[in-house]
């Protein structure tokens, strides 16, 4: 609430400055410049201190770039592959071949839809078992031909429906976790929006796990947590804080490796800017991982996850 009020205040100030600038047609007025700088500083300060709940809302923002947007902006020669060879193609996960800076690779990611029709088609980014099985099939293809893998994580969670249960949602996720741990090629994971529990993790076991500044990664949604803990989904803000789901929290706990900065105000303000900020991180990580022999890669990947939680027991 407080943050929303503060944001309104900033917006109002910003409008005032614009208005003043328009009136003072010279545009070089010192007082005006000073005001402008102050507003900019306030804005930066505001975004630096966003709470977990505000970031949750940014992570879910309808204009936030999705996997196919990043693929369009960062990769060349995208060739989407479909199906898991068993039941159906799941549009909530996209997978395919592409090139990154000329390097042939595989890209896998959750895909949300933007308009109502797309949202329904993509099942709001909630995959069914066949989606996870497709992801694994294509990642194993990458392993076979020794190509690195990029994954983009953005899902509210694996779909909790009857059909998904019937076809083994749990089994599909579990298998991905085990198999990703032993794919002998670099896996670079980027959490771009919502990292919703097992449904996110199922394509997020990698050598590096990066998080966009306003993305979240959680064992349960804040709403779900609130409704279990307090029988009140409305207390989601409290739950979001308690769960420690922001990139900053998770970097501190040692669950993610790097925070990727976003354009001011969030990736949805400037998708191309967001891609420009992500690109060097992916390039540098790939350069680090690509020359490593598979045994070394797998050992380090094992140890990376092996350490998780070890410091919180006594």
């Amino acid at each position: 609430m407080d943050a929303i009020r503060k944001k309104r205040e900033i917006d109002r100030l910003e409008k005032d400055v614009e208005e003043l600038r328009r009136l003072a047609s010279k545009g070089s007025d010192e007082e005006l410049e000073r005001l402008h700088r102050e507003v900019e500083e306030l804005k930066r300060e505001f975004y630096r201190h966003l709470g977990a709940w505000q970031r949750t809302q940014l992570a879910r923002h309808a204009h936030r770039p999705y996997t196919l947007d990043y693929i369009n902006m960062l990769f060349e020669e995208w060739c989407e592959l479909h199906g898991e060879r068993g039941f159906a193609d799941d549009p909530a996960i996209v997978a395919g071949l592409a090139r990154f800076h000329g390097q042939a690779c595989v890209v896998v990611g959750h895909q949300k839809g933007r308009d109502t029709k797309q949202k329904v088609l993509r099942n709001f980014g909630m995959p069914k078992p066949e989606g996870y099985r497709k992801a694994l099939r294509v990642m194993q293809l990458a392993a076979k031909f020794r190509r690195p893998i990029f994954t983009f994580v953005d899902t509210p969670g694996a779909y909790p429906g009857m059909d998904a249960e019937e076809r083994g949602q749990a089994e599909a996720i579990a298998r991905n976790l085990r198999e990703m741990a032993r794919l002998p090629v670099p896996i670079i994971v980027t959490i771009t929006g919502e990292g919703g529990s097992g449904g996110a993790l199922a394509i997020a076991v990698g050598d590096r796990v990066n998080m966009l500044e306003n993305s979240i990664y959680s064992v349960i949604s804040p709403e779900g947590c609130a409704s279990i803990m307090w029988r009140e989904a409305a207390r989601a803000e409290e739950a979001a804080n308690a769960l420690k789901i922001t990139a900053h929290d998770l970097l501190q706990i040692g669950i993610v490796d790097e925070i990727v900065p976003e354009p001011e105000g969030g990736a949805h303000h400037d998708p191309e800017g967001a891609a420009r900020l992500l690109e060097p991180v992916l390039a540098r990580t790939l350069e680090e991982l690509l020359p490593q022999p598979p045994e070394k890669l797998l050992k380090a990947r094992y140890e990376k996850f092996r350490r998780m939680g070890q410091n919180v027991i006594s």
Binding site: A181, A242, S314
Partner: protein, 282 residues
């Protein structure tokens, strides 16, 4: 009369889930067939209703007594306990929840790791305790299962895990989620080493436990009538806005849909594990 009173008093520490079963004191009404059972009969029958074969929950220690020879084993990592990494508080501080569960059950977290023998064959057996915060998996359960797997690798032993869990432990946030990846990675190594892993799924096995080790057995075996799934029935009903059909997500349903090798009665479980290990190992 005196012991009726005493029995009633001890009720206060019983979680609401089990209270229904025990309110009759020495007598228990079967939740499946409504028969009135003498508690002692149920105890000697490993918590299986003698009238209708309904499988009640079996405690983690009793489970080891059921499976391991002479009810003897060496426990590993018994002292591992959570230090409440997120300082999590909901209606009650997590620290307090842990302390209460530890006091009630005499164990540090929701799983026991035992090294013992099953029909003469040495193995490692992990047994989950639903009474401990719903058998939920946080860093301790994750670490203990991972160490159990690593112990199997070191000693070249087969692994049996008896799951009984509502899933990942919310109070440890994303750390709990990471345990799924940690354990599954260790299971990949066990698989590479060609050591058998038999997963036993009991009522209930849901969420992150199902979505990691419980579904990754060389054999996945469930007890009759166990609730097994990824999402809980309540969440699914909210999603689809309708009631789930009878038997949905029960063992027999999963068997039908191809996710279990067998549904095995509790009294046959030890023999079943033993026979299958005989097939796998010399």
């Amino acid at each position: 009369m005196a012991w009726f009173k005493r029995e009633k008093k001890s009720l206060e520490s019983v979680p609401p889930d089990e209270r229904r079963v025990r309110t009759e004191g020495m007598w228990i009404k079967c939740e499946a067939c409504a028969a009135i059972l003498w508690k002692k009969d149920l105890d000697t029958n490993w918590q299986v209703c003698p009238k209708c074969e309904h499988h009640f929950k079996l405690g983690s220690v009793k489970r080891l007594e059921l499976l391991l020879d002479d009810a003897e084993w060496t426990e590993h990592d018994a002292a591992l306990a959570s230090n409440d990494p997120l300082a999590f508080v909901d209606t009650k501080p997590y620290k307090l929840r842990l302390k209460d569960a530890q006091k009630k059950l005499g164990m540090a977290d929701a799983i026991l790791t035992a090294e013992g023998h099953l029909n003469g064959r040495p193995l490692i057996c992990c047994s989950m305790e639903f009474g401990f915060i719903g058998g939920s998996m946080g860093a301790v359960v994750g670490e203990k299962v991972t160490r159990a797997i690593e112990l199997c690798l070191e000693k070249q032993l087969p692994l049996v895990i008896v799951s009984c869990s509502g899933g990942a432990r919310m109070m440890e946030g994303t750390i709990s989620l990471m345990q799924l990846a940690k354990i599954s990675a260790a299971l990949a190594r066990l698989d590479d080493a060609r050591l058998p892993f038999i997963s036993i799924l009991t009522d209930p096995t849901t969420g992150g436990v199902t979505a990691s080790y419980a579904m990754l057995g060389d054999l996945n075996i469930a007890e009759p009538g166990a609730l097994i799934g990824f999402a809980g029935p309540r969440v699914i009903e909210q999603t689809i806005r309708q009631k789930l059909p009878e038997g949905f997500q029960r063992s027999e349903f999963l068997l039908q849909h191809g996710f279990l090798d067998a549904v095995v009665h509790r009294r046959d479980l030890k023999r079943y594990i033993s026979t299958s290990l005989d097939f796998f190992l010399a």
